[in-house]
Amino acid sequence: MAKLSTRDIKRKIQGIKNTQRITKAMKAVSAAKLRKAQILLNATRPYSDKMYELISDLAIYVEREDHPLLRVREENNVDYVVVTADRGLAGAFNSNVLKRAFNDIKELEEQGKKVRVIAIGRKAVQFFKARNVDIIEAYEDIYREHMNLTFTSQVGGIITSRYIDEKTDAVYLINNELITTATYETKVRKLFPIETEIDLKKIDTIARYNIEPTKEVVLENLLKQYINFQLYRALVESNTAEHAARMLAMDNATRNAGEAIKKWTIIFNKARQEAITTELIDIINAAEALK
C-alpha cells in the first residue's frame, strides 16, 4: 500500500464514519419496520391455523377427482412463484431465495421439464430477466401498497387458471420465512396440486357432513381462498424476514465500520507521530549544523 498522508487517512476515517452513520440509520429504520411487519405476521396466524383445520376437515370427504385443482398429473410443466424483496442491502436474503430457485429450475430442466416463473419483488424480476428464464408475470413495488388480498387474488387467479387449463402440472412457492428475529429460512411449498393430510380421528364424521349448495361450488371457493391466502402469507413472511435480515446486515455493517475506524485511527496516530519525529529530527539536525 502506498504511504498515505495524515490528511488522506483523516479523510478515509471521515468517509467510514459517514457510512457508519447511514448503516446505523438503516438499522433503526429496519427495526421499526420489522416491529410493524411482525404485528401483521402474527395477525395472519389464527386464519392460517383455521384454514389448515378446514382443509384437513375437507380432505376427509373429498376425493382428488372432485375438483380440477386437486387432480394430480405427471409434472411436465412446472411453475415457480418466487418471492424476494424489492431492495438489496439485506445480506444474503435475496440471493438465498434466488439461488435455491435457480438450482431447482436447472435440475428440473435437466430432467426435460419446462419451467416458468412468476417473479414477485424487483430482485427476482431482475435476476430471472438476466438469465433468460421464461417469466409469466413480473411484479415490482408491491410491499409498500399492494400487500393485500386483492393483489394476491390476481396472482392466484393466474396460477389457478393455468393449472385448470393444464398449462402447468405443478406450482411451487418459494420465499423466505422468519424463524426467530435473528434467523430466516428459505422455504419451498407446493401450491398445486394441493396437498392434504387426512386426520383419521375425524373419519367417522364423513357421512354426516352436508355441503351446500354442492361440493364443487364450495370446494372451488375454498380452494381459491386457500391459494389466495397462501400467497398473502408468503408476502407477509417475506416482508418480515426482509426487515429482520436487513437489520442484521446493517448491525454487522455498523460494527465492521466501527472496527475499521479503530484500525485507521491507530494508523493515523502512528503516521502523525512519525511526522512529528521526522520534523524534530530535522530541527535538531539544523540546530546541530548551526553550531
Binding site: 389464527p46 378446514l54 364450495v218 381462498q225
Partner: protein, 142 residues
C-alpha cells in the same frame, strides 16, 4: 351455546360462546343454533348477526368466505370483516364507481375478469348498504 370464531387473514374479529348466529350464504340467510347439522357452505357479502342470551345482538359486515359448522364449534373464514361503523365509505364508493365504469365497457375482457368485477361490485354495494350509504343494494333475505 357453542363456540363461534370469525377470522380474517388480518385478525380474529370475533371469538366466543354464542346462542345463535345468522349468516348470509349463497342460498339466503342461515341461522345456526347449537347442535346444528354439520355443514360447509359459502358465505356471501352481507351481515352476520351474533346473538347471546341477555345481550344486544352484535352485527358484523363480511365479504366472501366459507363457514364450517363442525360438531364442537363454528368457524367462519372470510376475506374481510368489519363492524358497520368501521366501513370506509369513501374508499368503497370510489371502488364501486371504478368497477361500474369498467363494467360499462367489457369489450376485450375475459369471462373471468368480468366475473371478478361483478364480485367486487357486489362486495362494495353490500358494504355501502350496511354502512347505511347505499339503500339500493339488495341484501339476501330468507
Amino acid at each position: 351455546m357453542y363456540k363461534l370464531e370469525i377470522v380474517t387473514p388480518t385478525k380474529v374479529i370475533y371469538s366466543g360462546e354464542v346462542y345463535q348466529t345468522v349468516v348470509p350464504t349463497a342460498d339466503g340467510e342461515c341461522g345456526i343454533l347449537e347442535n346444528h347439522m354439520l355443514l360447509l357452505t359459502n358465505v356471501v357479502p352481507g351481515k352476520i348477526r351474533i346473538e347471546k342470551e341477555g345481550e344486544e345482538p352484535v352485527e358484523i359486515a363480511v365479504t366472501y368466505g366459507v363457514i364450517d359448522v363442525t360438531g364442537d364449534k363454528v368457524i367462519i373464514l372470510v376475506e374481510e370483516a368489519y363492524l358497520p361503523s368501521e366501513i370506509d365509505v369513501k374508499k368503497e364508493a370510489a371502488l364501486l364507481a371504478e368497477v361500474k365504469e369498467k363494467l360499462a365497457n367489457t369489450e376485450g375482457l375475459s369471462l373471468k375478469e368480468i366475473e371478478e368485477l361483478h364480485r367486487l361490485k357486489e362486495r362494495a354495494e353490500v358494504l355501502l348498504k350496511l354502512a347505511g350509504e347505499n339503500p339500493e343494494a339488495v341484501i339476501p333475505t330468507p
